[in-house]
Amino acid sequence: MNGICEGPIISIRGLHKRFGPQEVLTGVDLDIGSCESLVILGRSGCGKSVLLKLITGLIKPDQGSILFEGEDSTKFNRQKLFDMRMNFGMLFQSAALFDSMTVGENVGLPLVKHVHKSDEEIREIVLEKLRLVGLTDVYDSYPAALSGGMKKRVGLARAVVMEPQVVLYDEPTTGLDPIMADVINTMIRELQHELDITSIVVTHDINSAYRVGDRMTMLHEGKIIYSGTPEEMRGTDNEIVRQFIEGRAEGPVRAV
């Protein structure tokens, strides 16, 4: 770790968000340290993805603040949000590749739009990122020709192509077979170490969480109810967390 890895890069305070009558987040407080790999666990539909979208400014909170490098991003105008997002990369649950573009065009699009480089230089950078995810041979393929795992890997290459400070992963292993899930988990870890980035991983896959996380948090009923290292989480006596990591229907959390 070097100097840039000190202190929190994102601080969330009193974050509330509701959709119609449904209150999704009811006061989230969370600090995310530079260069750490933070996992946000929680049941499906508990608001994990909403939290990611709030952090990136894709949606606005009803109340609360999100400080990115000391500035409240909830007050940013559109241009400042775009400037902030240049420091972010995101791997979407469905990979969200642009299906009218080839893999090379998908990964290279942020460079084409924001970096003054020649086509050849951009191609080199794209190939380098595709090499990181082991997919140089699909450069000219369209997303429709790729498997789910390959799409996620291309999405990962696109997320890191601008060498962002923070990479956000929305359910990175959902819908993948266990072997491919492990490939993705390993890549998340490797990218974090190679590029010195902060990772925020939202998942309900507990195995994946233990593989990628430096710190584990749990979102439940709109609040962060737990934060600790993977080891601490394994030994926790928090009943809600225990029920979740052991995958039990019986416990304080009603299954249905």
Binding site: T56, M86, F92, A96, L97, F98, L109, P110, R158, M162
Partner: protein, 262 residues
């Protein structure tokens, strides 16, 4: 009470839709100076919207011209000499049938295609992905489609007007027995350039409506496949309705105010 609640919901929904449209329109106006950065994308859309619609416009126009000839000749029987057939077909094609019918058939094709494409991008998080890589979806998706449709619909209408007149002329010769020269004489007899220009002026607005309603409904898509289907339907219905309503308003403005007969 239920009826009042329903009416209230309908009214609020209507206001929300209008507000959403104006917000998108305002964003488009704000981004208009960036038009020239997107020339490549605009050309691609012009090809998709313009060249891609030619077969549909070709078939529609020829048959519309043909039926205009047959119907006019039928209504002339015993009252009006057939040498005026070209005048009536020409006037109806350049003033109304050419612009409006082209807008309706191209609108069905193009606004549905845009709404389905943008809607699918919305539900598969591609729009969010675009935002995340700091690309404005309105600049990248809406602006090029709006410009392309606004510029291409008049071109398609010129093409449609010409084909409809040819269709009308051929049918007049084959089915009604009016020679090409008689039809042509009729065509030029009452021709005013304002008819053609006025008809084409309307199509700039129709082209804008087609792309705008496609994009707007695409951006409003919620849910999955059903949501995309719903947006596509709304885009087609709303663009067709708006074309018909603005056609009346524009016809009034252009032919009763701007090109008012002396």
């Amino acid at each position: 009470m239920k009826i009042f609640a329903m009416l209230g919901r309908f009214f609020l929904g209507f206001i929300e839709e209008i507000g959403g449209m104006f917000l998108l329109l305002w964003r488009v106006i704000q981004l208009a100076p960036r038009l020239f950065r997107n020339i490549g994308n605009i050309l691609i859309q012009m090809e998709k919207i313009g060249i891609g619609s030619i077969p549909l416009v070709l078939i529609t126009s020829v048959f519309v011209g043909a039926v205009a000839s047959v119907q006019a000749a039928y209504q002339f029987q015993g009252y009006i000499p057939l040498r005026f057939l070209g005048a009536v077909v020409g006037k109806s094609v350049t003033l109304e049938v050419g612009p409006v019918l082209t807008a309706l058939v191209v609108g069905g094709r193009v606004s549905a295609a845009i709404a389905a494409e943008v809607g699918t991008m919305k539900v598969t998080e591609q729009i969010d992905a675009m935002e995340m890589i700091a690309i404005d979806p309105v600049e990248y998706l809406v602006l090029p489609r709006l410009v392309a449709a606004t510029l291409m619909l008049p071109v398609l209408t010129v093409f449609a007007d010409f084909l409809a007149l040819v269709g009308g002329m051929v049918v007049a010769r084959l089915a009604v027995g009016v020679s090409f020269s008689t039809f042509e004489d009729g065509l030029t007899m009452f021709f005013r350039y304002q008819d053609l220009v006025g008809g084409l002026l309307k199509t700039f607005v129709f082209g804008f409506i087609i792309a705008f309603m496609g994009c707007y409904n695409g951006f409003r898509t919620k849910g999955g496949a059903e949501g995309v289907g719903m947006s596509t339907m709304k885009a087609v219905v709303s663009s067709c309705l708006l074309i018909l309503i603005t056609n009346y308003l524009l016809a009034f403005l252009i032919f009763s105010v701007i090109f008012a007969p002396d």
